[in-house]
């Protein structure tokens, strides 16, 4: 019996050696041949009955030893084959990871609307409401209520598109100021974006463009507040280092009126091509709301003061993104549009 056990051991060893290059199924079959219910090692256990009683303990030990040894052999080989199989699979399934991905591309906002959104985000947090007034406007809101009398040069036919004697295409978002102030009493903080129209067309002018109007009316509003708000705006829209400069100007609906320049974001104020060597870029018009405008809206100018500012969004987009011709913005070439992933 002992010999028989040794032979089994040798057979298993040889069998395993052979099956090492084979499959896990072959290994399983081999395992069953010895360790299955009817396998040879199982047969040994059953054969114990025929072993003389005094030899049984020793024989029993031998049988369990060979069983344990065989199980270990099979387990190890199983692990080995599993590993080999996995390696083979990995190899066969290898892909070129540099091949292109499939993904859903996302579209873009128009650059002018990106600027609009950024400005709104900047002012929204400061408590500004967003108001969009009508584009086809009455003369009163676009001009008269804004203290632009009938003979003012800005009213000339060559600047403004008229529909009838009374109706026109608004030439400025300032018309929204009046509509807001007629319906709402201070405190007022609004931002009014929208399309405006002027009869003008070249590299820096478009017959339709966008403006953003800002208006604050409350008690004790000063020119310093205007400067503070615009400083914050400049820092957020351009760079933290951007400064503003006020200089005197004239608009019929503000007094005092100022032109606001930003230190050039490109050269930091040293002077470059973009700022034409001055270090400053003209960006918007502003001022303290004219008393007459407040009166026209039924707001007591002795109780309240306010400031207003207005800027061209195309101009800001052009400055910010380095676009040199306004006409690009209205061609809507998809190659340009796709560049503005914000």
């Amino acid at each position: 019996m002992q010999e028989h056990i040794e032979r089994i051991r040798a057979d298993i060893a040889a069998g395993i050696e052979k099956v090492k290059d084979g499959t896990r199924q072959e290994l399983f079959e081999l395992k069953m041949k010895y360790l299955g219910k009817t396998g040879e090692i199982s047969a040994l256990s059953k054969g114990m009955r025929d072993v003389p009683a005094e030899q049984r303990p020793a024989m029993g030990k031998l049988v369990s030893e060979v069983r344990a040894w065989a199980e270990e052999q099979f387990d190890q080989t199983e692990a080995l084959l599993k590993k080999k199989e996995l390696e083979a699979r990995y190899k066969s399934e290898r892909i070129d990871v540099t091949m292109p991905a499939r993904f859903a591309e996302t579209g873009t906002l128009h650059p002018v609307n990106i600027v609009k959104k950024e400005i709104i985000e900047c002012f929204e947090g400061m408590g500004f409401d967003i108001y969009e007034g009508p584009e086809i406007e009455k003369d009163y809101y676009n001009f008269q209520a804004l203290n632009i009398p009938a003979d003012h040069p800005a009213r000339d036919m060559q600047d403004t598109f008229f529909i009838t004697g009374e109706y026109l295409l608004r030439s400025q978002t300032s018309s929204g100021q009046i509509r807001v102030m007629e319906n709402k009493k201070p405190p007022i903080k609004i931002l009014s974006p929208g399309r405006v129209y002027r009869s003008d067309s070249d590299a820096t002018h478009s017959p339709m463009f966008h403006q953003m109007e800002g208006l604050v009316v409350d008690k004790g509003i000063t020119l310093c507040d205007l400067k503070g708000i615009l400083d914050e705006f400049a820092r957020r829209m351009f760079t933290k280092e951007t400064k503003t400069r006020l200089r005197p100007s004239y608009f019929p609906f503000t007094e005092p009126s100022v032109e606001v320049d930003l230190s050039c974001h490109n050269c930091g104020g040293k002077g470059c091509r973009i700022c034409k060597g001055t270090g400053w870029i003209e960006i918007l018009g502003a001022g303290m709301v004219n008393r007459r405008v407040l009166e026209n809206c039924g707001i007591d100018p002795d109780e309240y003061t306010g400031f207003a500012f207005g800027m061209g969004l195309e101009r800001i987009a052009m400055i910010k993104y380095g676009i040199n011709d306004m006409r690009y913005l209205f061609e809507n070439d998809v190659r340009l549009l796709k560049q503005f992933k914000d």
Binding site: A104, G107, L109, H110, V112, K117, M126, G127, F128, D129, I130, E132, E135, D151, H152, M157, F161, F162, I163, E166, Y167, P186, P187, R195, S199, S201, P207, H210, V216, D218, G220, I221, T222, L223, C224, D225, K227, G228, I229, L230, D231, E232, L246, R247, P248, Y250, P252, E255, P256, N290, R291, T305, L329, F330, E331, N332, D333, V334, L337, K338
Partner: protein
């Protein structure tokens, strides 16, 4: 507004450079658009005396001159072809390496073998005419008058050593549309005294009223009219100093009387006019509205037919001037004019503007009146003109005048407080500083404690209240004193988007998620754009612009489709292989035409698509993406649109209401545009949609029991719509929560005119879990219902 530096210096002791002055003007509100050195073209051109003159040995027409140019050379040899030179003449010498008018460079060279170290110059070569220097118009070398040392820079000799400030003056400051007006600002900003204009003159003992009767019948259009008689005139050339001033300002000298009126216009900003009194009939001047159909021929020989909207100056019979615009040919100054009536008037600016526009007739005068002339300056200008008459010694001045003023000029008085001015500025400008600034600007200030009473100078018709004073103070005190503050006194406000605005942003986000790029197109289009889409009738209900730039931008669009198509076509023609574009913009719907009330501006959403892989259903995707995001359900119905493929066009409905459409561009239109790719266009009436696009999020409990999914392959007639089958399935069983088509199949076996459609149907249990036989029962019920409604059978 062009202002010569030298002229400013007549009135202010300017001790800074022109560049520094430019900076100072900029800081107080006067942007110098261009600062130009008048003689910038001329370099190394000096006076020289011809010490000897001899014939060129090899050329009959050439002469060899030797010149004494002082420090530049005592004996310079120059060959010239001019024949007006002579020994001893003082002439302009362009030295070797010099430059002249028009960028001409002069170099040493040989002329017919004789060395010439420069060139003798004519007036033209220096860029000047007789107005700059007597004799400059002569055809030949400019012979200079005696008294200038040799070697003097020619620019100094002929008046080119000067600067011109081209200043942009804002519309509220017509008082600065003159040399003296700017001088007032310069004096204030430099804290220097302003020298007065010489307004003195000696009058003779004859009167204006004895010669002519002047009256104003339209005081509303002519608030002040001054007429002063001058006789014994000698019409001649003005003196050099006066002509040079005009030349510096870009005007040509005509004769002394005309030059004086132009000079006063430049210096004080008051347009003047002079009538030849011998041509004035019936010794009368009347300012009145023109009669309908009345005619006038202006100085430039153009004839105009007038209306009552035009103001005219008339004699006893006929118009002799178009007020404020131009004098009549019938009363102009001629060489023989011996007596004139000088006019200095304030005409109402709006009327001058309207007349000038309506007749298409402009002049320096009308341009100036349109900006606004103040009645105070009208008064001093006449005195200045008479002062110049006397200075030029060219006439005798009457002892009286007509000065017809509607109401006398009362300067604006502002009673306010220092603290109010500072409250608007937000800083503390010291009281003394405020007072001094206002005084420097010629305001009269009387103060008591915080209270001040400020009288504006008579020429400042723009001053109304304390904010105007605040502006005067801060532009002189310096805007750099303004320090940013953050609304310390204001109430806190919430701010932010309205729900409607938020929804817009959300819709745009969805579109972008579907790879759509936003476009912005003009709100106005051409009637032809409608015609191209075979919806020409739309143009009739569109709002028309009265004064469009052109026909192609003449009507306010009622649909975004034409602009979208134009944009897609542009992209296709530029070779861009694919595009998905959207625009969210207003369309403009008139309630009636012509417009009598505010039209409706309707937010509309437009989509446009082309390129490989795009078809009707990929274009439909963005509609479904929006529906899915907002939890609404669009229904689609086959429809027709004049510009879309009749077999590939759908109406979009929301709860039975039409909210949009989409489809493929009609093949014949595409062919007409030479498009080789299918184009899809759709629109959604965003305004109508908006009410249904709620942003309110609500949690729906998850199903307590598992759902069951069954696939059904159904054979239907070709005519049956997918949407109807989907609805049929849903309607037949209340547990159906989703129906999704996943395959369409046609074959001989199925039969001609039939199609097999495979749907995946989801059943969701309510309170109790499904038993296996339940779902089988539902399917049976569905099939029965479909069979009855559409003759559909299970495949």
């Amino acid at each position: 507004m062009k202002v010569p530096f030298s002229w400013l210096k007549d009135y202010v002791d300017i001790d800074i450079t022109p560049e520094e002055l430019q900076e100072r003007l900029f800081s107080c509100g006067f942007e110098v658009e261009e600062l130009k050195y008048v003689g910038e073209e001329i370099d190394r051109c000096v006076t020289g005396r011809i010490t000897s003159l001899e014939k060129h040995p090899d050329a009959d027409k050439l002469k060899i001159c030797r010149l004494d140019c002082g420090e530049y050379g005592k004996d310079i040899q120059i060959v010239t072809g001019a024949d007006n030179v002579f020994e001893g003449a003082l002439v302009p010498v362009a030295l070797d390496g010099s430059s002249l008018h028009g960028g001409v460079k002069i170099k040493k060279g040989k002329l017919r073998g004789v060395e010439s170290c420069g060139m003798l110059c004519s007036g033209e070569e220096l860029g000047i005419n007789d107005d700059w220097y007597d004799g400059a118009d002569v055809n030949g070398i400019l012979i200079l008058s005696e008294g200038t040392p040799v070697g003097t820079d020619m620019k100094k000799v002929v008046g080119l050593d000067d600067y011109i400030f081209d200043i942009s003056v804002t519309a509220n400051r017509p008082d600065c549309q003159s040399v003296y007006g700017i001088a007032r600002e310069v004096a204030a900003v430099l804290k220097k005294p302003l020298k007065p204009v010489d307004l003195t003159y000696e009058s003779s003992d004859f009167s204006t009223s004895g010669r002519v009767y002047v009256h104003v019948e339209a005081p509303d259009l002519c608030p002040r009219y001054i007429a002063h008689y001058v006789r014994g005139l000698k019409i001649e050339k003005s003196p050099l100093w006066l002509r040079r001033r005009l030349a510096l300002s870009g005007l040509r000298a005509i004769n002394n009387v005309v030059d004086i009126t132009n000079f006063v216009l430049l210096e004080l900003g008051q347009p003047m006019h002079a009538f030849d009194l011998s041509k004035v009939e019936k010794n009368e001047i009347c300012v009145r509205r023109a009669k309908e159909g009345e005619k006038i021929v202006t100085l430039d020989e153009k004839e105009f037919e007038l209306t009552a909207n035009n103001l005219v100056i008339c004699d006893g019979v006929k118009p002799v001037a178009l007020a404020g615009v131009m004098g009549g040919l019938n009363s102009g100054i001629a060489e023989t004019t011996a007596e004139v009536l000088f006019e200095s008037a304030k005409f109402e600016r709006a009327n001058i503007r309207r007349t000038s526009r309506a007749l298409g007739q402009k002049s320096d005068s009308s341009a100036r009146f349109e900006k606004g002339v103040d009645a105070y300056t009208t008064g001093i200008a006449i005195n200045r003109a008479l002062n110049l008459i006397e200075a030029l010694g060219c006439g005798q001045i009457a002892c009286d005048r007509f000065d017809i003023e509607d109401k006398s000029v009362a300067p604006a008085v502002v009673k306010t407080k220092y603290s109010k001015i500072n409250a608007l500025l937000g800083i503390e400008v010291p009281k003394e500083e405020i007072k001094n600034i206002l005084k420097r600007l010629n305001f009269n200030v009387s103060a008591k404690g915080d209270d001040i009473t400020v009288t504006a100078p008579a020429y400042r018709e723009d001053i109304e209240g304390y904010p105007d004073l605040a502006e005067e103070v801060i532009r002189m005190y310096g805007y750099d004193h303004i320090r940013g503050a953050f609304l310390p006194t204001a109430k806190v406000t919430g701010g932010g988007f309205t729900d409607a605005q938020r929804t817009e942003e959300r819709v745009k986000r969805i579109a972008r998620g579907q790879d759509y790029n936003e476009i912005i197109t003009y709100s106005f289009i051409s009637p032809k754009d409608y015609a191209q889409l075979r919806i020409g009738g739309e143009a009739e209900r569109a709002i028309r612009i009265k004064n469009p730039i052109g026909e192609d931008m003449s009507i306010m669009r009622t649909t975004l489709a034409p602009s979208m198509l134009t944009t897609l076509v542009r992209n296709i023609r530029r070779g861009n292989p694919r595009a998905r574009l959207f625009e969210l913009a207003n369309v403009y719907i008139a309630k009636q035409l012509p417009l009598a009330e505010m039209p409706e501006e309707r937010k509309t959403l437009c989509f446009g698509v082309y390129g490989a892989g795009e078809d009707f259903f990929s274009a439909k995707g963005v509609f479904e993406a929006i529906a899915s995001e907002f939890g609404i359900r669009f229904a689609y119905r086959a429809a027709e649109k004049p510009f879309l493929h009749p077999g590939k066009c759908a109406e979009v409905l929301l709860e039975g209401e039409k909210v949009g459409y989409l489809g493929e561009l009609a093949p014949d239109i595409a062919e007409g545009l030479a498009l080789e790719v299918n184009v899809y266009i759709g629109e959604l009436d965003f305004a109508k949609l908006q009410g249904s696009l709620s942003s309110a999020l609500r949690f729906k409990p998850l199903p307590a029991h598992p759902e069951a999914v069954r696939d059904l392959a159904l054979v239907a007639d070709e005519e049956v719509f997918c949407a109807d089958i989907e609805k049929g399935i849903s309607d037949a069983c209340k547990y159906v929560t989703a129906v999704k088509l996943f395959d369409v199949y046609r074959s001989e076996q199925i039969g001609a005119g039939k199609k097999s459609m495979a749907f995946s149907v989801t059943f969701t249990p309510h309170e109790n879990a499904f038993k296996p036989e339940d779902v089988d029962g539902y399917v049976k019920r569905i099939l029965k219902s479909l069979g009855e409604k559409f003759g559909i059978a299970l495949r």
